[in-house]
Amino acid sequence: MIQAGEAIPPFISVIYNSPLATHVRESEITFPLLQTFHVLGILLMVGSIAIVDLRILGVVLKERTAAEVGKSLLPVTWVGFIVMFLSGGSLFAAQSGKIYDNIFLQVKLGLLLFAALNVVIFHATTYRSIASWPVEGAPRSAKAAAVLSLVVWAAVVVTGRYIAYY
């Protein structure tokens, strides 16, 4: 809760007092509905990313190439990202004045940034040669990126869940 006299950064205050944030915060149904969509967004995004990672590691879908699996799941990842981002952004806005200094939130946002960097670097480097990866297995650098991706996305979900138990 906000204590009297506690200094909230001005931009957080603007977000917190916006009509959307106020509506979500005071609603009976919007808040749990957004929480539900946030879980569904995570399901689609992190789930599809995990399948691609596991294919790169040679654990699942070995009858298809990593390139095929990656290409067919990318739209699912994007839909999940949009749902996750919009619902998560609204849930954050609604509580921003109270949770901006929550350590789990800060760690989660840091991990999200790290996960995004992993995606960008992976796609700019190793992924470019995906079509020519040998059938026996992906290059070591691709496997390293896949393991990192699985670990970091799991950590994002865990720290995200812990925001409520700070």
Partner: protein
């Protein structure tokens, strides 16, 4: 397959870590061994998700007045128990039975709120595992 073991291990870690902490927000903040009853004048209401707050001005035996925050469930849960925002207004006297915060601050977990019209409603957050919570009374599944 070392890799497979690693992946499986990560998945297991993620799956047990989350539920272990879920629904323990009561214990995370409040002390079930320190019940308290506050009777005071309502100074402000935060009818908000995920928790609501009722701020009370309470006069102690020495006549000192302090302001307390009483944390309760969110708007949806309170409304389903027949407690709506319009049932209370600033200046009303509320009786709140709850538990003190572990931090020692002037905030309590509001388990039961007696409204100005005399009705007594449960204020606790559903599934938080606090005293009187349905989830806390249910038999625990054996792992």
């Amino acid at each position: 397959m070392k890799l497979r073991a690693l992946v499986l291990g990560l998945a297991l870690t993620a799956s047990v870590a989350a539920p272990a902490s879920a629904h323990h927000s009561f214990a995370a903040m409040y002390d079930a061994n320190r019940p308290i009853r506050l009777v005071g004048r309502l100074t402000s209401v935060e009818w908000t998700n995920p928790h609501s707050y009722f701020h009370l001005e309470v006069r102690d035996a020495q006549g000192r007045v302090t302001t307390w925050a009483c944390e309760g469930a969110g708007p949806g849960a309170l409304s389903r128990r027949g407690f709506s925002r319009s049932d209370i207004s600033v200046g009303d006297t509320l009786v709140v039975d709850g538990y003190l915060a572990k931090s020692g601050g002037r905030i309590i977990d509001a388990r039961r709120i007696t409204l100005p019209d005399g009705r007594s409603v449960s204020g606790g957050t559903p599934g938080d595992g606090g005293p009187g919570d349905a989830a806390a009374r249910a038999p625990r599944p054996q792992a």
